[in-house]
């Protein structure tokens, strides 16, 4: 299936395929390098889908373990990142369905070291957006996380979630509508600032 994903993946990382091939033969160091390359992206997706750090850790860990175990079934028809996301999304949704919980109050998470101490407003916005996402149904949440946070194309999302592109479109529409309603007051201020 020569699609855009495959080609872009190929172009982006030539040595990725060799790392994958070496990991497949049991080279733990090669896989460790793959983990290093993807851990932030995968953890981020897991965090936004599960809504809290604890579950995000578990989901992302599971994803990398399952990824290593399932490396043999990775046929390279999608990019490695897309494939890994599929595993991570499944792991995260597994956890969400098994133990649904309220989204965490996430004060420390956004306290980046270079964050100016006074940027309280910014942190508040981030917190509200996070909570709005966490309030969405899991399917819609996953779609919007993959699209607007992880930056996947509709086709890639369809592959990750294993649903038709049309379903991705409608889920995204519903998710964004939910977010729009919840964040209506914030978006106006943002727009005013931008404009």
């Amino acid at each position: 299936m020569p699609d855009a994903t495959f080609r872009s993946g190929e172009r982006a990382r030539v040595d990725e395929s060799t790392l994958i091939a070496r990991s497949r033969t049991g080279d733990l160091q090669a896989y460790d390098r793959l983990v290093g390359a993807y851990q932030d992206r995968i953890y981020n997706a897991a965090f936004r889908i599960t809504g809290n750090r604890e579950d995000a850790w578990d989901a992302a860990q599971d994803a990398f373990i399952r990824g290593y175990q399932g490396l043999r079934s990775f046929r390279g028809e999608a990019g490695f990142g897309t494939w890994l996301h599929r595993i991570a999304v499944n792991a995260a949704l597994d956890i969400v369905r098994r133990r649904p919980r309220a989204p965490q109050e996430l004060d420390p998470m956004l306290a980046a070291p270079d964050d100016p101490a006074g940027d309280v407003l910014r942190r508040d916005v981030q917190r509200r957006v996070h909570r709005a996402i966490a309030a969405l149904p899991p399917d819609q949440r996953t779609a919007v996380v993959l699209r607007d946070i992880q930056g996947f194309s509709y086709e890639e999302i369809a592959r990750v979630m294993q649903v038709p592109v049309g379903t991705v479109r409608s889920r995204l529409a519903r998710a964004r509508e939910g977010l729009r309603v919840r964040l209506a007051d914030l978006s106006r201020t943002v727009f005013e600032e931008d404009a």
Binding site: R24, T25, G26, D27, L28, Y31, D32, V35, Q39, D40, R41, I42, Y43, N44, F47, R48, R53, A56, W57, A60, Q61, F64, I65, R66, G67, Y68, Q69, G70, R72, S73, I87, N90, M109, A112, V125, Q126, V129, I133, V144, R147, D148, I149, Y154, R169, S170, L172, A173, R176, E177, L179, R180, R182, L183, A184, L186, S187, R188, V190, F191, D194
Partner: protein, 392 residues
């Protein structure tokens, strides 16, 4: 009408430029006319921008190390990559392996349970035949020795009146027993003497014997006639004379013919009686002559049938045992009996081939017996793999 419809649901895709040209023109036409939808699009873009503006949350410290440790835990050895079915030490595979083992044990036990049953069935049938031959005569005189067939007849004693008597009344069966035994003996002359002794000891005789000495090994064949009840015992005694190479035991059930002959003889005898009474009343010579002629024919037939009856009775009473014997080791082999060595080599060669063929046959039987189980296991494995692939 289309333009009056709001395009709210398409706006999300429109933001991503994921709409068809037709949709796009419809949306844009609508947007140019509908302020409400324009506002909607604006706020949608705003919220999307908010989501896109979220700071990425990197994996916490120690995440990669934790993955490394867990992966190393699951990985067994690099050699595993070469092995055909990559075994992964997880609870799932352990469970699958345990299930497969259980199924295997179960099917092997099933096979083992079925195998001896077949063997014992054959054994029982043999016993019954032997017991019948041995108990047959005694059954005719003593009803208690009716043999193993009796219990099946006892529950319905009245049924004997309706069914053919030969089939149901124990001890009524007329069976001609015959056996052929080929023996290899160490001492040929001694074996012949003991053979004669066995026949006479059982109340029978050697009906036929022939000797031959080809090369250094004497051979002979003998026909023994022994009373049917002693058939089994005699056979056992004979087989003790040497190594049995061939044994064939045959039984011919002549009950039906016997009964038929008896009935025909009875009919003919009645006919004879009637002819005799006709003769008493006959007045003309021509009548007398005709009756005489018919009487002669009937008597001839009675003679024939009783002769056949007697022959069958004799065959039934005296079982036939054919014994072919040959000397096992040459009497005067000289320094080295090359022929014997050759024969032994041939025998060993054939034995090995027979064993190999036997093993192949057993393997074939086993595989075909396990085929359904393997099929199921394979199917299960495929499903497990599919399920695993889906979860991955």
């Amino acid at each position: 009408m289309m333009t009056r419809n709001h395009v709210t649901e398409l706006l999300s895709a429109y933001v991503d430029e994921q709409v068809s040209p037709a949709e796009r023109s419809r949306i844009e036409t609508h947007l140019s006319q509908c302020a409400q939808c324009r506002g909607h699009l604006e706020s949608l873009r705003g919220s999307v921008a908010l989501v896109r503006g979220l700071d990425p949350v990197p994996a916490p410290a120690g995440f990669q190390e934790a993955v490394r440790a867990r992966v190393a835990e699951t990985a067994v050895s690099p050699r595993r990559a070469v092995a055909l079915p990559r075994l992964r030490l997880s609870w799932k595979t352990a469970g699958v392996a345990a299930a497969a083992l259980l199924v295997g044990i179960f099917s092997v036990n099933l096979l083992r349970e079925m195998q001896p049953r077949v063997v014992t069935l054959e054994g029982q049938r043999d016993e019954r035949q032997m017991g019948q031959s041995a108990g047959e005569r005694s059954a005719a005189t003593a009803p208690k020795g009716a043999g193993p067939l009796a219990p099946s007849a006892q529950p319905a004693p009245g049924a004997g009146n309706i069914a053919p008597p030969a089939a149901t009344i124990p001890g009524f069966r007329r069976i001609i027993r015959a056996a052929h035994v080929t023996l290899a003996v160490d001492d040929f002359d001694g074996a012949v003497r003991r053979l004669v002794a066995i026949a006479e000891g059982a109340g029978g005789f050697v009906a036929n014997s022939s000797y031959a000495q080809t090369g250094s090994t004497p051979e002979g064949s003998f026909t023994l006639r022994v009373p049917a009840p002693r058939f089994g015992a005699v056979l056992e005694d004979i087989e003790r004379l040497g190594t049995v190479e061939v044994r064939r035991i045959g039984g011919q059930d002549v009950t039906e013919e016997f009964v038929d002959l008896q009935a025909r003889v009875r009919n003919l005898e009645r006919h004879e009686q009637r002819l005799l009474s006709f003769m008493d009343h006959a007045t003309k010579v021509s009548e007398l002559l005709a009756i005489e002629q018919e009487l002669a024919r009937v008597r001839g037939e009675i003679e024939l049938l009783t002769g056949r009856l007697r022959f069958i009775g004799n065959q039934v009473d005296l079982a036939t045992v054919e014994v072919a014997m040959r000397q096992r080791t040459p009497k005067a082999g000289g320094f080295w009996d090359f022929g014997a060595t050759l024969r032994r080599m041939q025998a060993a060669f054939l034995m090995t081939i027979r064993q190999i063929l036997g093993a192949i046959e057993k393997a074939g039987v086993l595989i075909s017996a396990l085929a359904p189980v393997l099929l199921l296991a394979g199917l299960g494995w495929l499903i497990v793999r599919r399920v695993r692939a889906r979860t991955v």
